[in-house]
Symmetry: C3
Subunit: 272 residues, 3 copies
C-alpha cells in the first residue's frame, strides 16, 4: 500500500512551498498528499497551516473541479503530533493551549468553507483529528487496511473537527459515543457501516479503483458540482462554525488540565 510522494504536476504553480505536503494540480484534480511518512503523517503545527492553505488554493483556483486528500506511506495520518505538546515551559501552558486552539479552529474552518467536492483516499490507519475531519468530506474511499480511532479520553482530551455534532448524525449517539468517548478502534468496513466511509476497496485495487472514479468525477460540469454541494453546506454552515468554536474552547481548557497533563506524560513514558 505504500505510495511515493506525488510528483507535482505541470500546473502545480508554487505548491513546492509546502514542506509537509506533496501537492499536485492537474486535469481539474487538486491532490493533497500528507507527506511526513517517517512520522506516520502526524500533524505538526506547520502541517495544520499548510493543509489549510492548500484547501484555500484549491478553492480559489478556477481550474480545480475537486480536491483529494491522501497519505504518503503506510498511514493515512496518525493525528495531532504530540510533539506539539513537548518542550512547553510550565508558565507557557496557557499561551500554548490558546495558540493551539486558534490553529485548530482555523484548520477546521478551511474544511467547513471548502466549496468544491472534497474526496478522502484513506490509504491506511487514521487517528484522531484525521478521523473526525472525515465528517466534513463529501466522499471517503478507504482501503481495507485502514482503521479509524480517536483516543481522546485516553489522552485526557475531547473531540474536534465538528465530530461531536456530525458523528451522532452519521451513526447515532449510541455508536458515535463508543468512538468519540470510549476510544473504540473500528475497521474500514465498520466505518462504512457507520456512514463515515463511502466504500471500502481491497488494498491491491484501492489505487486504481479510486483513480478511475476521481478522473470520471473531474470531467463532470464544474459549477453543477459546486452548486450541488452548496445548499447542503449552507444549511449547516452556521451550526458547524458554532460547534467548531465550542469544541476548540473545550480543548483549550482540556490542554491546561491536570487530567490531560498526566495522560500525555503517561503516553510519553510508555513510548520512552
Amino acid at each position: 500500500g505504500a505510495e511515493q510522494p506525488a510528483e507535482t504536476g505541470s500546473q502545480a504553480g508554487d505548491s513546492g512551498k509546502f514542506e509537509t505536503l506533496a501537492v499536485s494540480n492537474s486535469d481539474g484534480v487538486y491532490k493533497i498528499m500528507l507527506n511526513r511518512p517517517s512520522k506516520k503523517n502526524a500533524i505538526n503545527y506547520q502541517m495544520y497551516e499548510e493543509w489549510g492553505q492548500a484547501l484555500k488554493e484549491a478553492a480559489e483556483d478556477k481550474n480545480v473541479v475537486l480536491a483529494v486528500v491522501t497519505g504518503s506511506g503506510d498511514y493515512y495520518c496518525s493525528g495531532n503530533d504530540l510533539g506539539n505538546f513537548a518542550n512547553i515551559p510550565p508558565d507557557g501552558v496557557k499561551a500554548m493551549a490558546e495558540e493551539g486552539g486558534r490553529i485548530l479552529e482555523r484548520f477546521i474552518s478551511a474544511f467547513i468553507e471548502f466549496p468544491k467536492p472534497l474526496i478522502g483516499l484513506i490509504n491506511g490507519p487514521a487517528v484522531g483529528v484525521s478521523v473526525t475531519t472525515l465528517g466534513l468530506f463529501d466522499v471517503v474511499y478507504a482501503t481495507d487496511r485502514a482503521t479509524f480511532q480517536t483516543p481522546f479520553s485516553n489522552l485526557g482530551q475531547s473531540p474536534e473537527g465538528c465530530s461531536s455534532y456530525i458523528f451522532p448524525k452519521l451513526m447515532g449517539a449510541a455508536k458515535a459515543s463508543e468512538i468519540l468517548l470510549f476510544n473504540k478502534k473500528i475497521t474500514a468496513v465498520e466505518a462504512c457501516e457507520r456512514n463515515l466511509v463511502t466504500e471500502v476497496f481491497p488494498d491491491h485495487a484501492f489505487k486504481s479503483e479510486t483513480e478511475t472514479r476521481i478522473q470520471q468525477y473531474a470531467k463532470l460540469p464544474k459549477m453543477s458540482l459546486q452548486m450541488s454541494k452548496y445548499p447542503t453546506r449552507e444549511m449547516e454552515r452556521e451550526m458547524l462554525h458554532k460547534v467548531n468554536k465550542l469544541e476548540c474552547k473545550v480543548l483549550v481548557e482540556r490542554w491546561q488540565s491536570e487530567e490531560c497533563f498526566q495522560a500525555i506524560m503517561n503516553f510519553f513514558s510508555r513510548k520512552g
Copy 2:
C-alpha cells in the same frame, strides 16, 4: 410488475379532474397513481400541479387517514420531463426558468406541509425528483425491481426536494454525495441500507404485501397517526422550507447556465 391505472373509488369525488394521475379514495386511503406510463411517468408541468393538488385534497378530506403514491406501468417515475425544457425561445429562458422554479417550489411545499402519513410504493425505477422527494415520505416500500438515480450533474443541474438537507441525514454526506453529486444509481436493497427505503419486497409479492400493511395502517386511530407525525415535521418545517427555497433558487440559475444548456443538448442529441 405492471399495474393497470386504478379505478377511482366510489368516494373519489371529482378526482377525475386529474389528467396525469389516477386517484382513488376509499377506506381511509387516498391513492395517487402517476399515470403517464408511455412516458415512464415523467413529470410535466401539469403533473407537478396535479400531484400537489391531490396531496392538498388528501390533507383536507377528513375521511382520509393516509395517502399512498405509486406509478402506473413498469416505472415508478422517470423524473422531471425534459420536454419541459423543449421549445423555449432564446429570449424566454429566464422567464421559463423562473416559472419552473416557482412550480417546483410549490410542488415540494405540498410534501413538506402534508400532515398525514405519506407512503410511497415504489413499483419500479425512480429517477431525479421522484427519488429526492422520497426523503419527505413517512414510509417507502420498494419492489426489488426498483432502482434509484439522480443524474443531476450529468445534466448540469443540482438536487431538489430538500434532498441536499435530508439525504446526508439519512446516510451521511459520504454516501449522499455519491448519489446527489456523482450520479450513482443504487438498487432497492442499497436504498434500504441507506435509509431511503423502509423495506424491499420481491416483485411478485410487492402488491399483496404492501396492500395488507396499508389496509392495517388505515384502521389505526386517525388523529393519533396525524399527531404522531406532527412534532417530527414541526421541528424541521422551517428548515425544510428554507432548503426548498435555496435549492430552487440554485436550480433557476442552473437552468440558465451554459453548462446545463450543453448537457441537455447532449442528452437530446444522444436520444435523437
Copy 3:
C-alpha cells in the same frame, strides 16, 4: 437473564429512599435498576419521579463517572404503567392529563440535562417510553432477548422522549415511522442496524461482557468524558427541550381524546 435487585454499594448514600428503583454507587458507576419486576418494571408516577431524582443525584455526585440503567427480572421495562390512567373521575381527566404531562416533561428533561455518559443495559423487552428515551443515552447494550416496541397509535397516543426528533436522525423517517407511527416491534439486531443500540450480546454473555466494558470506561479521565459529551448535547439542547415540550403538549391533548379513551378501554377489556 433474570437478575436480582442490586445490593446498594457502600457509597450509596441515602439511595434506599427509592422504592421503585434499586440503586448502587461504587467505583465511579451509578447504577439504576428499575425494580418493579412483578409489573415488568412498568413506570408508575413514583418511578418517573424517582428515576429523574436518581439521574440528578448521579449528575451531582463528583465521584460518579458514568450512570447505568437496567431492569430487574426478565424485562427491561414495559413502559408507562397504564394503571396511571385507572380510576380517574370523569371530571378529572383534564387535570390528570396535565399533571401527567408535567411529570413526563420533567422526566425527559432529566435525560436531556444529564451531563455524564449514560449507558443502557437492555436486559430484556423494552416498551414505549423506555424505548424512546434510549435516543438520549450515550451507549446502549442489549441482550439478544431484548425487543423494542412503541405501540403509541394502538393506544391512541403519540411518541415522547424526543423520539419524534431523534429517531428520524438515527434511522431516517422511513424506518422511524414504522416504529413510532405503526407499532412495529423490532429485535435487538434490528435496533442495532437502526442505530438505536450500540451492540447486541448473546444473553448468556450479556452481564459479564457489559460489566467488563463499564468497569473499563469508569477508569477513564472523568472530566475528559464529561467534556467530550458536552458539545454534542449543547448543540442540540435547545432543540431537545423544544421537542420535549411539544410532544408532551400533544400527549396531554391525546390523553383527553375519545380515540385514546376507546383504545385504552379496549386494552383493559382485552386484558380482562
